[in-house]
């Protein structure tokens, strides 16, 4: 038996023995995700246990080095672990911007001290991070950001405003882009880390069309941040920001690919019923759902192929824009079809029957997928220029 096969066998045995039954139920809504952090309210004891035992093994971040709290697995082993978790229906033990975004950026650009301080806490779910990128006047044109950071000896003083900061009101720390020089647009930006409990930080949730507030406005009023919390060189933060954006795009793209979610066809069969030949009663909807599931299957394959090509060193970094674009559009389509299949029941906004309007609220929330992390239009610009080599601005 190859090493990989024996790893597969051991991983499966361990998961079967240790993953709580509740954590093997399909994910129904975003409330089922475990974000960790100082103030996280666990949905159940099982959720807490699952995060903790996986964190102890480093399997919340299986491919990170052990010294930083990871599992120390090779990419191949991590892929096997992922496949086994999928096969057993195990929920992700921990999801966070620390895992998806900051972690990879720190691994590539952080000092040893920064890695040792922050990565293990991300891996164990102790610190929840948020991302301070967008500003009221810096959206698609992110590099025009204006939040000011003045260097005063061994610290920086930060003043300004961020917007669309996901879960800023629940996060413990922020990774933030600030302007440390006005001389040049892209080379006057620095990448800094600080505690959201620092004096001068305040947040205000933004009420969305879904009736929820996953995003905040975040204000900084002379926030004092130690100079050692700058990642990379001063004024060289844009490189890190871009690196991190590719990871964000992959993450949002991955929304279209959640494996542990009930297939749309099955959901629709329950909602509208089948006729005597076993076909969905709404024939036009049936055709649309089939087309959706075909595209979804293609997307799953492309995600896999992109990973396999990257492992061979044949990847194009701009492919993350293609995946982000398609994953976001796919997820919007999914929820259009979900709410259509749900019919009048899907319109209920409150109450236990609708699980507090989960379908309607998630449908509305999905509309942001093609705006956040770079709009669909920006992603298509990137594909046109960086992959297809088309000319222009």
């Amino acid at each position: 038996m190859s090493d990989l096969e024996s790893f597969r066998r051991d991983a499966r045995a361990w998961l079967e023995a240790n993953c709580p039954a509740e954590m093997r139920q399909p994910v129904v809504s975003e409330n089922d995700a475990c974000w960790g952090g100082r103030h996280f309210k666990f949905q159940s004891e099982a959720q807490r246990t699952w995060m903790q035992i996986m964190g102890e093994r480093g399997w919340t971040v299986p491919a990170w080095p052990k010294v930083y709290g990871g599992g120390g697995l090779s990419k191949e082993e991590a892929a096997v672990l992922n496949a086994e978790m999928r096969a057993l229906g195990c929920r992700p033990p921990l999801v966070s911007f620390g895992i998806w975004m900051l972690g990879p950026a720190l691994l590539a650009h952080g000092t040893e001290e920064q890695k040792l301080e922050h990565l293990p806490k991300i891996a164990r779910g102790e610190i929840r991070w948020c991302q301070g990128y967008s500003e009221p006047n810096a959206g698609s044109d992110l590099a025009s950001l204006a939040t000011k950071a003045e260097v005063h000896g061994d610290h920086l003083l930060i003043t300004g405003q961020k917007i669309w900061t996901s879960y800023a009101d629940e996060a413990d720390w922020i990774f933030c882009l600030v302007r440390t020089s006005v001389a040049k647009k892209h080379t006057g930006i620095s990448f800094v880390l600080f505690d959201m409990e620092s004096p001068g930080v305040s947040t205000r949730p933004i009420l969305l069309i879904s009736g929820k507030s996953p995003f905040c406005e975040t204000f900084f009023d002379n926030v004092r941040v130690p100079r050692r919390n700058v990642v990379g060189e001063l004024n060289a933060g844009w490189t890190i920001a871009k690196y991190l954006l590719t990871h964000e795009r992959e993450m949002i793209g991955g929304i279209g690919e959640r494996s542990n979610i009930k297939p749309l066809g099955e959901f629709a069969a329950d909602a509208v019923g089948l006729d005597e030949t076993g076909r969905l009663r709404e024939t036009a909807l049936r055709a649309q759902i089939a087309r959706f599931e075909i595209d979804e299957a293609a997307f799953r394959m492309l995600m896999q192929a992109t990973g396999d090509r990257a492992r061979r060193g044949e990847g194009n970094p701009a492919m993350s824009s293609a995946l982000k674009y398609y994953g976001a559009e796919l997820n919007k389509r999914r929820w259009e079809l979900m709410i259509s299949a749900a019919g009048a029941d899907g319109l209920e906004w409150e109450g236990e029957r609708s699980r507090e309007g989960t379908v309607a609220r998630t449908w509305l929330r999905s509309k942001g997928n093609s705006i956040e992390g770079g709009t669909s239009e920006i992603q298509l610009n990137v594909v046109a220029k960086r992959i297809l080599g088309l000319p222009g601005v």
Partner: protein, 374 residues
């Protein structure tokens, strides 16, 4: 299994692309069309193609073949889609070769498989009977007649049927039973009519009037063809999907080059965002199809009985992508795209035929829904 070609497969892809772009570029098809060639493909080219081993891919080694699988057949299909080269590859080296390898007797295999490898025989597989692909509704009937059978019925869209040396005919022998028959085109009661198609595809309509079939011309058991046919059709579908992928890829390359070269308003038209976004979306569709088709080819090699769903997904997706590619190709080439002189129109015609062949996107979307329980 990784969703990438291995080293040998990569070499096969490079060699078949080099072979076809040198010996059978689009101009080759155009020449056959313009001369109203009676055969519809170039026999010397087919022989050279076979000398490279391309017709032997799916033939077992015991019969002189290469004993390779769907992935390799898909690589050849994709290359044929790129240059639109007309060959009997699909009919003879894919559909017939796999049918014989699965259902043929020792004698049938020994007689016919080496002839496929050597390009000595063209064997056409006759499935469709109506304008849409509906294999569940096969009505051609083979009734017991002494120790043999008597075949009556019609077939349409039979690839290479007008020049075939043998037919493999799917016929109904019982209410729920299908049987595969080897039929000699020269037998009494066989009528063959070549159908000239929009894309210069080589096909025929067949009529069988009480054709006598000897017992040794039955492939596999009587009434036992369903499983073999399912596998052969799925293999054909995924190879056609690969052809559509190659076709879409070639159209996109030409269109992208044109966007960079054609100038209006003092700039390359590829600078306009309206066109950039459409090109980017098309590129992503092609990449999606590429990944899904390779996944389906690998699934066919792993276990054909379990590959039905992904094959249906791949054929449907490839149809949709190729359709989009040729429509954007013509539109983005402007008036030039409408001219016969430009190759893009030939791609549009072939794409239409390949979509219809072995089930269009609607047919396969319906299969996806049925197989997924809705």
């Amino acid at each position: 299994m990784a969703l990438v070609l291995n080293e040998e497969q990569g070499m096969l892809r490079d060699s078949v692309n080099a072979f076809l772009s040198e010996r059978a570029p689009v101009a080759h098809l155009r020449k056959l069309r313009d001369s109203r060639d009676a055969v519809g493909f170039d026999r010397p080219l087919w022989r050279q193609f076979a000398e490279q081993g391309y017709s032997a891919i799916l033939v077992p080694e015991a019969h002189g073949g290469l004993g390779l699988g769907a992935v390799e057949a898909g690589i050849i299909g994709e290359a044929l889609g790129r240059t639109l080269a007309p060959t009997p590859f699909l009919s003879t080296a894919v559909l017939a070769a796999r049918t014989l390898a699965r259902a043929g007797s020792q004698a049938q295999q020994a007689q016919l498989l080496p002839a496929i490898v050597a390009a000595d025989l063209v064997i056409a597989v006759a499935i469709d009977e109506a304008s849409k692909h509906r294999p569940a509704a096969i009505a051609a009937k083979a009734a017991r007649d002494g120790n043999g059978l008597r075949l009556d019925g019609t077939k349409t869209f039979v690839l290479d049927g007008h020049v075939a040396d043998r037919f493999i005919v799917a016929a109904r022998t019982a209410e729920r039973g299908l049987t595969l028959l080897l039929v000699d085109p020269r037998a009494a009661g066989v009528h063959v009519e070549r159908t000239l198609m929009v894309d210069t595809h080589n096909a025929a309509r067949l009529r069988f009037d009480g054709v006598r079939i000897e017992a040794d011309a039955v492939l596999g058991g009587a009434d036992a063809a369903t499983a073999v046919l399912d596998e052969v059709l799925d293999l054909g579908r995924v190879v056609v999907a690969a052809q559509l992928l190659g076709l879409a890829d070639a159209v996109f390359e030409r269109t992208l080059a044109y966007l960079k070269e054609r100038r209006q308003f003092d700039r390359a038209i590829g600078e306009f965002q309206a066109l950039q976004h459409r090109a980017a979306e098309l590129y992503i569709d092609i990449e999606l199809t590429r990944a899904l088709v390779l996944g389906a080819l690998q699934a066919m090699d792993k276990d054909p009985a379990k590959a039905g769903l992904i094959v249906a997904q791949a054929k449907a997706h490839a149809c949709t992508t190729a359709n989009r590619a040729v429509q954007e190709g013509v539109q983005m080439h402007g008036g030039m795209g409408m001219t016969d002189e430009f190759d893009i129109g030939l791609y549009m015609k072939r794409a239409r035929t390949l979509q219809e062949l072995l089930g269009d996107a609607g047919f396969h979307a319906d299969r996806v829904a049925a197989m997924s329980g809705y």
